[in-house]
């Protein structure tokens, strides 16, 4: 009798020790490195509130994320661009894609003399600069929109991301929208063939920022968060409504708010018509499969769905603190609705 008690005590003690470790299920995701800072903080907070779940996210790049998701080696994937028809065709089953984060791409430059109010660019001049058609800073088309600014007789060094990135995708998507020539000659992609003779590629946001900071006469594009963190000089860009402005969270949110019918196949929010919209912005998407069969899979999928739903809604408050732009209410609704289609 006594012996049984001892055994029972030992067992319950073991249970106590093991319980937390056993109970926390580790979910894994992979993909976009752009969302990683946001995901890390969001998932950390989520685990703090839900002790039964931890999330391990690997920022291996959107391409890698899609690949791992396709091979079902992760519970969810994330990409700065939704999967295209080709990629969807390769999936073993139907998937759901939801917008999970929102970001803007700012234009930064480096000129020897300070320009009050910042350099002003129209959409066309930005495209022509990146096409190499405007090759010098004192080009009449630039001096015209920057009266009073001291623009040197120096070549414009065009800096771009050398690594494949969603940022480049959004930026080239914008250029394709505003310039027919860009669209036909270069196109939209995570990596493109940069036409400007003075183009230089930097690896990552740091690489672009570093090149711009060190090269007098250069222009580049980086994520909004990066501009803020590094106090970089921003250019003003004219939007479709004709207003000049800087890239700000509010401008990006305004751009996002103009697109109410957001879907994974119609997702572009560049060059939108909103009065205060910043024209270079885009979503990061998370994806999981639509149906799960085995009971064990189902319970996991339910946890993943809950995490993603929380991240796309309540978690967005964290996005703001990290210089991401919180998803507008309407988009949060879209995400929620898409997630609810998942059968678990």
């Amino acid at each position: 009798m006594k012996r049984v008690n001892v055994l029972g005590a030992a067992l319950s003690f073991a249970a106590l020790v093991v319980a937390p470790a056993l109970a926390a299920t580790q979910l894994t995701g992979a993909g976009s490195s752009f969302v990683n800072p946001f995901f890390s903080k969001a998932f950390y907070e989520y685990s703090a509130a839900h002790s039964d779940v931890t999330v391990n996210y690997q920022p291996i790049g959107s391409g890698g994320g899609i690949q791992q998701f396709t091979q079902r080696t992760v519970d969810f994937g994330a990409s700065d661009v939704p999967m295209n028809a080709d990629e969807i065709k390769r999936l073993p089953a139907s998937a759901v894609q939801v917008p999970i984060a929102l970001g803007g791409v700012a234009v930064t430059y480096n000129l020897p003399s300070f320009i009050k109010g910042g350099l002003k660019l129209t959409r066309e001049t930005l495209a022509d600069i990146y096409l190499g058609k405007i090759a010098k800073w004192n080009d009449p088309r630039l001096t015209k929109i920057n009266p009073g600014a001291e623009l040197p007789d120096a070549p414009i060094i065009v800096v771009h991301r050398s690594d494949g990135s969603g940022t480049t995708y959004i930026f080239t998507d914008f250029l394709s929208h505003v310039s027919g020539e860009w669209k036909s000659k270069v196109g939209t992609g995570k990596s493109v063939e940069w036409p400007a003779p003075s183009a230089v590629g930097g690896k990552g946001n740091d690489g672009v920022a570093g090149a711009v900071r060190q090269t007098s006469g250069s222009i580049g594009y980086v994520e909004l968060a990066y501009v803020h963190e590094n106090k970089m000089t921003q250019a003003q860009l004219q939007n479709a409504a004709g207003r000049f402005g800087f890239c700000t969270g509010r401008g990006v949110a305004a751009a996002a708010a103009t697109k109410l019918n957001l879907t994974p196949t119609d997702f572009s929010i560049v060059d939108t018509k909103g009065e205060t919209a910043w024209p270079i912005a885009g979503y990061t998407w998370a994806f999981m499969y639509r149906e799960y069969q085995k009971p064990e899979e189902k319970s996991r999928a339910k946890m993943v769905r809950d995490v993603l739903e929380w991240t796309a809604t309540s978690g967005q408050r964290i996005a703001g603190t990290l210089d991401y732009v919180p998803l507008p209410e309407s988009v949060q609704e879209i995400a929620k609705k898409s997630l609810s289609e998942i059968k678990v």
């Binding site: 790049g61 050398s162 690594d163 494949g164 196109g187 995570k190 493109v192 940069w194 003075s198 930097g202």
Partner: protein
């Protein structure tokens, strides 16, 4: 009788162990060959759709366009070879003379710490070299060194044109610094191995230390130094992250070293994670195959050079 059988036993045992040793040697060699062959086959298989789509044009085209799925590797081959050549010329020069100085001329109190420092460079991760190159070296080159070269030697096409911070030149110098330890460490050993008696013979004939170095020690060490350079060159050819950070990542061939360029390894590092279409991935793998082939070719050429140029020189 007993002792005789003992002896026989002993002999046989040693023969068996010989056999084991030989088996081990052949096994290791075979494994090594198999790994290299396997790597080649794997790369070839992975790049088959790209090879099929572009054929020989992959080597001659300068267009690298992931949007239209048109891929050509010529600028990357050029960038890889030229950046490594710059590196090996600089590192060879500095490494060999540095080693000569350390072994033969530097006072011991200087030689030891200096040698240690140089070899420490080999332990620094490449990303550190990349950061250093991007944020410290490139601005200095851009502001002082490159304008100076342009002013003095601007008539040479290689020093003409606009000065970018990120360029073939910057990459070459960063790579040179990275491979100097390899050159200098091996050269030091090789120089030290040149028999002390040759050194003494030369000095006894009234040669100075420099004359001894230039006429006896270095000529006697050429093969070894050459080997060191080939090894270092291998590292330069394959270096990825540091190059990527400072070369400017531009798939174009320019006459000027001050222009940005691209290397095979850098493209792979930059684009592999975000490549999704099959042809795109395949083209990237073909770049890997090319890097493999370029490295083999460079090694092969180096070997042939050792045979044809250095051997007869030694006997002459």
């Amino acid at each position: 009788m007993q002792s005789e059988s003992h002896e026989q036993l002993h002999l046989r045992r040693s023969r068996i162990s010989d056999r084991w040793f030989m088996a081990g040697v052949y096994g290791a060699t075979g494994l090594f060959v198999a790994i290299v062959a396997g790597l080649f086959v794997e790369l070839y298989a992975g790049s088959s759709s790209s090879i099929h789509a572009f054929g020989f044009k992959f080597l001659t085209s300068s267009h690298w366009n992931p949007v239209t799925n048109q891929f050509g590797a010529l600028p990357m081959i050029y960038g890889t070879v030229v950046s490594s050549l710059i590196a090996i010329v600089l590192a060879g020069f500095v490494g060999v003379f540095g080693a000569a100085y350390l072994v033969e001329f530097a006072p011991r109190a200087v030689a030891r710490p200096l040698a240690f420092l140089i070899e420490l460079l080999a332990a620094v991760p490449s990303v550190i070299f990349g950061l250093w190159g991007l944020f410290i070296l490139a601005p200095v080159l851009r502001a002082y060194v490159e304008p100076f070269l342009q002013a003095k030697f601007g008539f040479l096409p290689i020093f003409q044109g606009f000065i970018f911070g990120s360029s073939l030149f910057t990459a070459g110098i960063v790579l040179a610094i990275m491979i100097v330890p390899t050159v200098s460490a091996i050269t030091r050993d090789v120089i030290a191995a040149v028999a002390r008696e040759h050194r003494e013979a030369s000095m006894a004939l009234g040669a100075t230390r420099w004359e001894t170095m230039a006429r006896v020690i270095l000529p006697g060490a050429t093969t070894g130094i050459f080997g060191a350079c080939v090894l270092a060159l291998g590292r330069a050819l394959g270096e990825t992250i540091a190059t990527t950070m400072v070369i400017g990542n531009k798939p174009a061939i320019a006459a000027s070293l001050f222009q940005p360029a691209y290397t095979l390894a850098s493209v792979i590092a930059n684009e592999f994670t975000e490549a999704t279409s099959d042809l795109y991935v395949s083209a990237l793998i073909e770049l890997g195959l090319l890097l493999f082939v370029v490295s083999l070719a460079v090694n092969g050429i180096a070997r042939v050079l050792t045979w044809t140029v250095l051997r007869p020189a030694k006997a002459r």
